[in-house]
Symmetry: C2
């Protein structure tokens, strides 16, 4: 059981993990980065506790910590309790969700293992926006995507904002980087995946005609605006498009991803 520790002094070093929260999630290989994984709010803290990430501590107002009691039964970490004012002064801003947890990063997943153990994957190129990246993980989790492969130009899915927008699903959908791009897409094809590049190009096939629900498949998504690079599209097996009304530029990338994930799941 997590053990309650009352915190009344803003300078208490026991809550140092929670200080300067807007930078604590910076990757450990970056200057000043501590690489902590931060969960905000009861629902996301629950997902962190249930994830492979080793939880270091919780910090919250008593009511929120109490709500989590069921999940904390098997967890031997401190649960720091403070009033909302002390919390805000430690963290650096007011948290209306009332509870936080921090964890260390887990060892990286290997792309080859993820490919071998999955049936449906998302492959991202150039998704630098933290909110879009988080929303893609939320949609992947909801729609049965087994894992996410991160090509070049993607931001770190473990940044706090991505964790929050994903509703904590970045903590349970496994993700692995692809380092040799787009050559590594060959790993997918060698494993029997059909790789579908989502692009509005005129020579692409309508999504619902592409049969992505059959066998192993992977959907390749690029950033809103620039879209996928020519190299990535050329390395895919098929180019697919979501049919769009006349003069509309495009859907949000996480929304387009959701439509494609739903199609992979059996539409």
């Amino acid at each position: 059981m997590a053990h309650y520790v009352e915190i009344s002094d803003v300078e208490d070093p026991r809550v140092d993990d929670f200080r300067d929260l807007s930078r604590a999630d910076r990757r450990p290989d970056r200057p000043g980065g501590r690489g902590l994984v931060i969960a905000e709010g009861v629902v996301v803290v629950e997902r962190l506790v249930a994830s492979p990430y080793p939880v270091r501590a919780l910090f919250g107002v008593r009511r929120r910590i109490d709500e989590l009691a069921g999940q904390l039964a098997d967890l031997d970490v401190p649960a720091y309790v403070a009033d909302a004012d002390v919390m805000a002064r430690v963290v650096g801003f007011h948290l209306n969700r009332g509870v936080l947890a921090v964890a260390d990063r887990a060892p990286a997943v290997d792309a080859a293992d993820l490919i071998a153990g999955s049936r449906r994957l998302a492959v991202l190129e150039g998704i630098g926006d933290h909110e879009n990246l988080g929303a893609l993980f939320r949609n992947a989790a909801a729609l049965g995507v087994d894992g996410v492969l991160l090509g070049p130009g993607c931001s770190d899915p473990l940044y706090r904002r991505s964790v929050r927008v994903s509703m904590g699903h970045v903590l349970r959908v496994p993700a692995a980087p692809l380092t040799d791009w787009p050559h590594d897409l060959k790993l997918l094809r060698d494993a029997g995946y059909r790789v579908a590049a989502l692009t509005p190009r005129a020579d692409s096939v309508a999504l619902h005609a592409a049969g992505l629900h059959r066998g192993r498949s992977a959907v390749l998504l690029g950033a809103e605006g620039p879209g996928l690079t020519e190299e990535a599209i050329a390395a895919a097996d098929v180019a697919v498009r979501i049919p769009m009304a006349g003069d509309v530029d495009s859907l949000n990338v996480a929304t387009a991803g959701a439509i494609a994930f739903h199609a992979m799941s059996g539409c």
Copy 2:
């Protein structure tokens, strides 16, 4: 052609439409409401100019107004030009999009006319969140939905934040209120629409098996969290669900809507 007017005095009454922008969009039937329709940024201003809403004026830095010159050719309104600092002081905050336009509201669309003239509709209940509402309009526009019917509990789609998140598509996708709820859903059935309520209920039909691309159809969507009311579901012809992975609570309502709109369009 819109005529350029230089503004250097923050108190200049000619730009009064653009003052206190965070309240200028309040509905005219609410206290202090001026009910102006506000477009922010080049793309959204273009959509406002192309919409049925009567534009009153533009206000921007010269570079952004110049970008719009092609669209302004047939428009006989003032284009107020100021530097970024004067603009920020008039508007009340710094605008990184650099250009605004204001319009009056257009006469409300009649629900019966919208139903008669459409083939695919979205019907919303309890969508109070401005961002979700705006995103639903963006997705409706992209995926060929002809119009939106607004049931009880929906916020005003012409609020500035909805206009912005919709990328201006609230200005071109027609919307009409349904006042007698859920009885008015009968108007749809009388016109030959199949009304599909999107709900995770166990007795619902999987979306891809519901055949929403055949004939006239309408998708009924409720707020994330509470979902549709029992009354609304009972008044629909069929309950449909997006198959979801095990323990995931739900998709964002605009994302769920996009998947359903895509299914209506021919999946």
